[in-house]
């Protein structure tokens, strides 16, 4: 299928495909309101755009694998501020995840929004398309300025989605969302960008990083650590505690928003940005040799555990999933902070694996809401009898999050744990293991409750009538659930892509894939 797609788009240069990937959702955002009176046509626009976007990204994929690094310099806004795009492997991976899941999510959205009779659907689809366009721009950004631009555009375009319901709670959540995301990005992220420019005279993502740790212009580890702190806290979308409050708050949004944006696009945009900054701005050598990353390792480990513990005490299903996301995002931040080849691989893989698992979980939560209007975990007794497929998918996704084979989550945890040992942070390895136990503790009870507890008010011996969510929702759930399984067996395409990541001169990413620790010799200094 991929080969036929590649031959279809052969005529286009990679630059044209980048432009197409950015413009397709944007054009969809313009077309959707045109058809606001004909819902079927309007949804068709979304679906066509989603498929076209995925075709773009998937036909770029083999070219990136072949070693091509397409660049697109759009415009120099001012000296140093250049609007430019460049596809490197991490961005490619992120773009693939977001664009592919957009198709699935669109199918799901149609079922959910119609099943719930939500108001203002046109606005919903428009904002969604704009958010996707911003996500693509972020994934393909070639420098900090472009990334920052896309980052802010993503925040602004998702704000109307969070406040979609227009209720006082939704407005309050919207305020938290805006203040935390815009606030952190303006007060911390922007100064970080400015300081990077002032200190190094460059903002381009460069293999091996641009922050000098030795040589004539070397920066002190303190400055590097401070700058890293500005980035990590400034990129509030990564939900590193204490900047995570927006994520549970954003759960008032309709479930498709929580699913694609607050399990995939927005939060992954955050951790992806951190990963990209660590790899291409700081350079993992710089970080590990100066030890400027140490405190973030501890902080992220703490977040992983604390968020899991908070998740256990949430009765609202979406809130529990949200805290679970906070915890899982910190895995990726931890992977970035460990700054070894294997941990970066693990972090990048976790973006993929967690995306599939968490979107499935959210889809299930939404399906339960559409079919039975239940939102609390304590209401889910015996629901598995009514919605067997949904709850089965929920279980599969849960297992993937925990990291059990044969599900995708296994791989990312494996590489993360390996990376922690490479970087000589043994305790981080322990954190991963404890956290897996905690995952079991907060997700498995939902599954067992759904399947093994009796349905309240229903005689035990009588068969239960099956009442699933709309078909569109079920299709989406099935696809992502199968994705969780397939990614265990077909992890190679993703690994090959991550293998392409240029970590700098002395470290060889390939060695990490073979399970061999990189022999940089800088770690123990």
């Amino acid at each position: 299928m991929l080969t036929s797609l590649t031959s279809l788009t052969q005529a286009y240069t990679s630059q044209e495909l980048i432009i197409a990937a950015l413009l397709i959702p944007a054009v969809a955002a313009v077309l959707i309101p045109v058809f606001y009176k004909i819902p079927n046509l309007r949804e068709l626009v979304t679906l066509v755009a989603a498929v076209a976007l995925a075709m773009c990204t998937w036909s770029l994929y083999p070219r990136i694998l072949a070693g091509e690094v397409p660049e697109l310099k759009v415009w120099e806004v001012a000296p140093g501020l250049e609007l430019a795009f460049k596809i490197e492997p991490l961005g490619m991976l992120f773009a693939l995840i977001a664009s592919t899941l957009w198709i699935v999510n669109s199918i799901y959205s149609i079922g959910y929004m119609r099943g719930n009779n939500e108001p203002r659907q046109t606005q919903f689809y428009v904002c969604f398309a704009v958010a996707l366009s911003s996500t693509m721009a972020l994934a393909f950004s070639a420098n900090l300025f472009t990334m920052f631009l896309a980052y802010e555009a993503l925040t602004l375009s998702t704000y109307p989605l969070v406040t979609h319901k227009g209720t006082p709670e939704a407005m309050k959540a919207g305020r938290v969302y805006m203040m935390l995301l815009i606030g952190t990005s303006m007060v911390l992220f922007l100064p970080a960008v400015i300081l990077t420019w002032a200190l190094t005279g460059s903002m381009d993502f460069t293999a091996g990083g641009i922050i000098p740790a030795d040589g004539a212009n070397a920066l002190s580890p303190l400055v590097i650590g401070g700058l890293l702190a500005l980035f990590v806290f400034g990129i509030g979308k990564a939900a590193v505690m204490p900047m995570h409050f927006w994520l549970p708050a954003a759960m008032v949004a309709p479930t498709p928003v929580s699913a694609l944006l607050h399990a995939v696009a927005v939060v992954k945009a955050g951790v992806f940005s951190i990963l990209k900054v660590v790899v291409y701005i700081f350079g993992i050598e710089t970080l590990s040799s100066t030890n400027a990353n140490a405190w973030i390792v501890y902080l992220a480990s703490f977040c992983v555990l604390l968020a899991s513990i908070i998740a256990m005490n949430q009765d609202n299903l979406k809130a529990r999933l949200a805290y679970s996301t906070v915890s899982q995002l910190s895995y990726i931040v931890l992977g970035a902070a460990l700054a070894s080849a294997a941990s970066i691989t693990g972090g990048a893989l976790h973006i993929l694996m967690h995306a599939f698992a968490k979107i499935t979980l959210f889809f299930c939560a939404g399906a339960i809401y559409v079919a039975h209007h239940k939102t609390e975990v304590s209401e889910l007794d015996g629901i598995g009898k009514k919605m067997p497929l949904t709850m089965f998918a929920f279980m599969i996704a849960t297992l993937s999050i925990i990291g059990l084979p044969p599900f995708g989550g296994t791989w990312s945890k494996w590489f993360l744990a390996l990376g922690s040992l490479d970087a000589n942070y043994q305790f981080a390895c322990a954190v991963f293991m404890i956290s897996s136990l905690l995952n079991i503790a907060y997700l498995m009870p939902i599954v067992s409750r759904a399947f093994f507890k009796p349905l309240p008010g229903h005689p035990e011996d009588k068969p239960v009538a099956i009442a699933e969510a709309p078909t569109a929702c079920l299709i989406a759930i099935t696809i992502t659930m199968l994705g969780c399984i397939a990614l265990f067996f077909y992890v190679n395409p993703a690994l090959e892509l991550i293998e392409m990541v240029d970590l700098g001169n002395r470290t060889d990413a390939a060695s990490a894939l073979n399970g061999v620790a990189p022999t940089g010799g800088t770690n123990g200094r």
């Binding site: 303006m186 007060v187 002032a198």
Partner: protein, 505 residues
């Protein structure tokens, strides 16, 4: 390079730029009907940006200032008009804003001003515009005072014509403050004249450098600097001398508010920059008196305190007025840091802020046109009824926050770089932190207009007419466009900053 051919009028463009609106004002008094006066003014104001752009292009092409000698009297004796990169740039901003508002003004004036006053209102508008252009173009300190008063007097009238009786009081308060400010300025100029015997800016700057050797003269010169800075700070509403501004903007007719917010304070800022940098130079204004330190503290105070006032405001026009005070703080911060990058940021923000704030006030004017109020309680839910108007408002508001992809970001970027160049890292954080407050006040009104249930007034509102939407969207579009294409703002500003910083002795 210049695409426009002015024929024989070409050498006289500097004087025409000032005289066209002033004579337009004169003739419009004879026109009894508001529509006719408006048509006349439309022609006049549309010609002005063409003139100023021609001047700007010419200056950029040659790199030399254009000197226009009135009555052919040579520089120290006669009055000269001097157009250099800085003044040509500010001329473009002011004349552009003046022209964009006019197509919008027709319906707004018809709705807000009673008929016999309509043509006089246009008269005052043109007079004010002429005065502001005069302040910027003149190369003579006393002439600048005359133009300052021409624009101020007409501004008082523009404000007093607001519908609410508080407009009268606001105008009166502004008259008192404005006159004190202008008089302070003229006292300073008088002292300079006593020291040097000249009023020409260039001549003044040359003679001052030798005159200050004498200690008595030096004291008089520094006193003059103090008077001028305080006087102009009053005019440009630098915190804490801004108290006249919120009421004046809030109760003036919509057109006047939009026009003044975009232009009036900018002309005063120009004059301050001109006097401090071109006339006094660093030797006096930086080393002898800590003017930049003072401006730095005041502008930081403006950025925070005025922004806080905006957060708790319930009248949208007053909210934006406080925001203007804060934004003036940004511009003055760039002036106070006094290096190449910060000055570029300050000058770029003159244009960027003029465009954004005018767009915001025009949007509010359209709301006022439809529902007769700009109180938050009346505006709630108006976004659903006037989506195009409020979408433009949102875009300009996002620009005000300094989000990347809008012109506000460009100014902030240069200001921050300037702060780093000056070694003031904490100021970088203050710049971004205060723009966070603007997120709060813009976010608050956005929430009111888009996500609340429509108020009784808003429920029956219709979208604004096309004549209002086109200027509004032009400015909103420019807010985004100038966030990407900075050749017109930051590049020109950088050249102007070169001259200012280079002019420092």
């Amino acid at each position: 390079m210049s695409a426009l051919n002015w024929g024989a009028a070409e050498p006289h463009l500097p004087i025409l730029l000032v005289m066209t609106p002033i004579f337009g004002a004169l003739f419009s008094t004879f026109l009894r009907r508001g529509v006719l006066a408006w048509l006349l003014a439309l022609i006049v104001t549309l010609s002005l940006p063409l003139m100023s752009i021609t001047l700007l292009l010419k200056v950029l092409e040659t790199g030399q200032p254009i000197i226009y000698k009135i009555g052919n009297w040579d520089a120290p004796f006669g009055i000269v008009y001097k157009v250099d990169q800085l003044s040509a740039y500010v001329l473009c901003v002011i004349s552009f804003i003046g022209a964009v508002i006019l197509p919008y003004a027709r319906r707004s004036i018809a709705a807000e001003i009673e008929e016999p006053a309509q043509s006089w209102y246009i008269t005052m508008y043109l007079l004010c515009l002429g005065g502001l252009l005069g302040i910027v173009i003149t190369g003579d300190a006393f002439n600048a005072f005359v133009f300052l008063e021409i624009s101020s007097l007409s501004t008082y009238v523009l404000i007093a014509l607001g519908r609410h009786r508080r407009a009268l009081l606001a105008s009166y308060q502004y008259l008192i403050m404005g006159t004190i400010g202008a008089t302070f300025y003229i006292i300073g100029v008088g002292l300079l004249y006593l020291v040097t015997g000249t009023l020409n800016f260039d001549d003044l700057s040359q003679r001052l450098s030798t005159a200050v050797a004498d200690p008595g003269m030096r004291n008089a010169t520094l006193t003059a600097l103090g008077f001028i800075v305080v006087g102009l700070a009053l005019k440009l509403a630098l915190f804490p001398m801004h108290v006249w501004l919120p009421n004046a903007y809030a109760y003036a007719p919509s057109v006047a508010t939009a026009f003044l917010a975009g232009t009036a304070t900018k002309a005063a800022i120009y004059l301050l920059i001109r006097v401090v940098f071109s006339v006094f130079g660093t030797a006096l204004s930086v080393e002898a008196l800590p003017i930049p330190d003072l401006l730095l503290v005041l502008s930081l105070a403006a950025m925070f305190l005025a922004s806080f006032s905006a957060v708790f405001e319930n009248n949208a026009k007053r909210m934006l007025a406080y925001s203007s005070v804060a934004q003036v703080g940004y511009i003055m911060l760039g002036v106070a840091l006094a290096n190449q990058a910060s000055m570029t940021g300050a000058l770029a923000h003159i244009a960027n802020h003029a465009i954004m704030k005018t767009a915001l006030f025009l949007a509010l004017g359209a709301v006022f046109y439809r529902i007769g109020s700009v109180l938050y309680s009346d505006m709630s839910g108006i976004g659903r009824k006037m989506p195009l108007t409020m979408a433009a408002f949102a875009i300009a508001g996002i620009g005000l926050m300094g989000t990347p992809g809008t012109s506000g970001f460009i100014s902030k970027w240069y200001l921050a770089i300037g702060a780093i160049d000056a070694g003031l890292y904490s100021v970088v954080f203050m710049i971004v932190a205060s723009s966070l407050i603007s997120v709060v006040y813009i976010g608050r009104i956005t929430e009111v207009v888009w996500f609340r249930e429509p108020s009784p007034a808003a429920a029956t509102a219709k979208e604004a007419p096309l004549s209002m939407l086109i200027p509004l969207w032009l400015l909103a579009g420019l807010t985004v466009y100038l966030g990407f294409d900075t050749r017109l703002t930051a590049d020109v500003s950088a050249k102007a900053a070169d001259i200012l910083i280079g002019g420092i002795r």
